[in-house]
Subunit: 360 residues, 2 copies
């Protein structure tokens, strides 16, 4: 498939805020957007078409794929059967391999480790016995994570001593899991890399990310990496993307342990999609992560990731959004609200990006 001309239809699986911002980016390039989601969501309000259906209804997925020219997604837990049903009809980008690797923490860790990249020590856990074996190998403190469907700190349990084993298994409801050893690090960063159909790539400047209660709180750009580390980090992300024959925007989250560490960069996980830690690109770059994802998916060239401003992106979680009257009055701040009705605790309701001239 060559580049899709403007007027073509981009199909997006998922109707949340990432789908919403993807839809806006796609429309800016003259594309139509058709969302498929299991529930009405923020993306519906800015898309030309939307279909509500179960993600496991492969018939409905296939019928929807007939109406679009290419399929992408805003979340990594798209069932592989849905991706396969769509791929039988139209190109799915990123491909199912990226989805498969991202959906299972064990597969993901092994995949990353096999690329020769540093990861935290890990071992599979299926039951109490394998947890004991894992604890013997990795020690405490450690963290038990379900292999599937964990996000924003959910599906996790911390173990301070071996005595926490049983309660940790209870916390994650005895789901298949991995035990991860703690690694010492200075801070968390994320690499936002766009890769085109022809394999060419472009990487955004690398932000510093902070989390509160397991949820991203802020992304600050420029981040902490000195130049040689930036090169290493981009190289690592490129290897992940290349090994997956990835098309689109991929996010690789890393721990940074400092220049003098034996393992300065430790890959935590990757997301086969645009990412909350890249929202600042909407306002601080000529072309944002959402547009570059759409460009890649549509077979267009990746646009330069040039940044014109320094930025701090702050998530508005739950009741934070009630501060909108104050936030709306801030100069040099770009307010983004996702149009969600109910400001539940822990729910991402919007974000604000505060811009400043690039510090020289």
């Amino acid at each position: 498939m060559s580049a899709l001309p403007p007027g073509s239809t981009i199909g997006i699986l998922g109707g949340g805020q990432l789908g919403r911002m993807l839809a806006i980016a796609a429309s800016r390039l003259g594309f139509q957007v058709h969302i498929y989601s299991d529930t009405s969501g923020p993306a519906f309000d800015v898309a030309a078409g939307h279909t509500v259906g179960d993600y496991n209804d492969t018939g409905a997925i296939a019928a929807w794929a007939e109406k679009v020219d290419v399929v992408t997604y805003e979340f990594e837990n798209v069932p592989l059967t849905a991706a396969a049903a769509a791929a039988a009809i139209k190109p799915v980008r990123p491909n199912a391999r990226a989805l498969e690797a991202a959906q299972d923490r064990l597969t993901e860790k092994r995949f990353i480790a096999d690329l020769g990249l540093a990861v935290a020590p890990f071992a599979p856990v299926d039951d109490y016995e394998s947890l004991e074996t894992a604890l013997n190998e990795i020690g405490t403190p450690a963290i038990l994570k379900t292999r599937r469907l964990g996000y924003d700190g959910k599906g996790q349990a911390r173990l301070t001593t071996d005595d926490d084993a049983k309660s940790a298994l209870d916390t994650i409801a005895h789901a298949p899991a991995i035990l991860e050893g703690y690694v010492e690090f200075e801070c968390e960063i994320s690499i936002l890399l766009a890769r085109a159909v022809d394999g060419s790539t472009a990487c955004y400047d690398i932000p510093l990310n902070t989390h509160v209660n397991g949820i991203l709180a802020t992304s600050t750009i420029p981040g902490p990496l000195p130049d040689p580390m930036t090169e290493k980090a981009i190289d690592a992300a490129s290897r992940v993307a290349s090994a997956l024959d990835y098309v689109g925007l991929i996010t690789v989250e890393m721990f940074y342990a400092g220049e003098n560490s034996d393992q300065p960069l430790i890959v935590n996980e990757f997301a086969p999609r645009v990412h909350n830690s890249g929202h600042w690109t909407l306002d601080a770059c000529a072309v944002c992560q959402f547009e570059n994802h759409i460009r890649a998916v549509a077979g267009w060239p990746i646009a330069a990731t040039t940044r014109h401003s320094d930025a701090v992106m702050t998530n508005l979680i739950g009741a934070d959004v009630n501060d909108w009257p104050t936030l709306a009055g801030e100069p040099n701040a770009c307010l983004h609200l996702y149009g969600k009705n109910e400001a539940r605790a822990g729910r991402k309701m919007g974000h604000i990006t505060r811009l400043a001239p690039i510090a020289s």
Copy 2:
């Protein structure tokens, strides 16, 4: 009415590219958008709701106004009866007075002149006799313009000598008109001023505009005005907005005749809406003209109009849009395509804004 909370619905009369970019800006602030247009258009693809109806169908307009929280428009030729029908139900911003003044070149010129602002010499023309009187007063070269419904150079005829009078009247189909004298000027500029419900204002930096065949071709920022002239220009636009008790983004087009001219700034016309010459604000400012219009209309504070980049906006007219594969490969360029199917000659299909760091 105090500030509309996110989740409220903005009603927009008109479904073209300006409505489209207004809808995107509104959604970014968490608003729903409902478009009313006499035909399906580019704005429909990015709005939660849309109604197709005649602009003269005041019943349909009123029924639509019931569904929204505030009404605005993307074009100045909204029938006053439609504005009145909507205003009986919900606030209409900008108000009908702005529409009325903008719809008739004679009313507009008189209104501007009455504010003590310089305009080109003008006289009303209803028939051959009044054209002769006008020509005696103003002389040639001059330009005959219909009082109503002219845009992008349509409804106009140039007169080089008095002998052109009859053919000029034929060209404009003997519609009620004004004769305007030529004024000497160096260049054309536009003032993009946002005014809030409380009367506070903010003005974008003033671009230089070029036209080809009567249609805007480029807007370049920074423009040519030295500081004292910038102050004068902003003051003129503020007086226009203030006299209209204007709420929203107003565009005042001016001729600039140079610092040493007796009349350095001559007001050409104003548009009670966001404007093509402000499209660069999408990519060169933290907050664009579209968002500031929506903010004003929603009773929010105007955001700072700070600019982070220099910019040249170039319209893609008709077949220009066929260059999209080349344009998509340009670095530091923001491509905007409006999703129109047919690239007819003279039709605005999109624009591209080329960014550069602010020259120091």
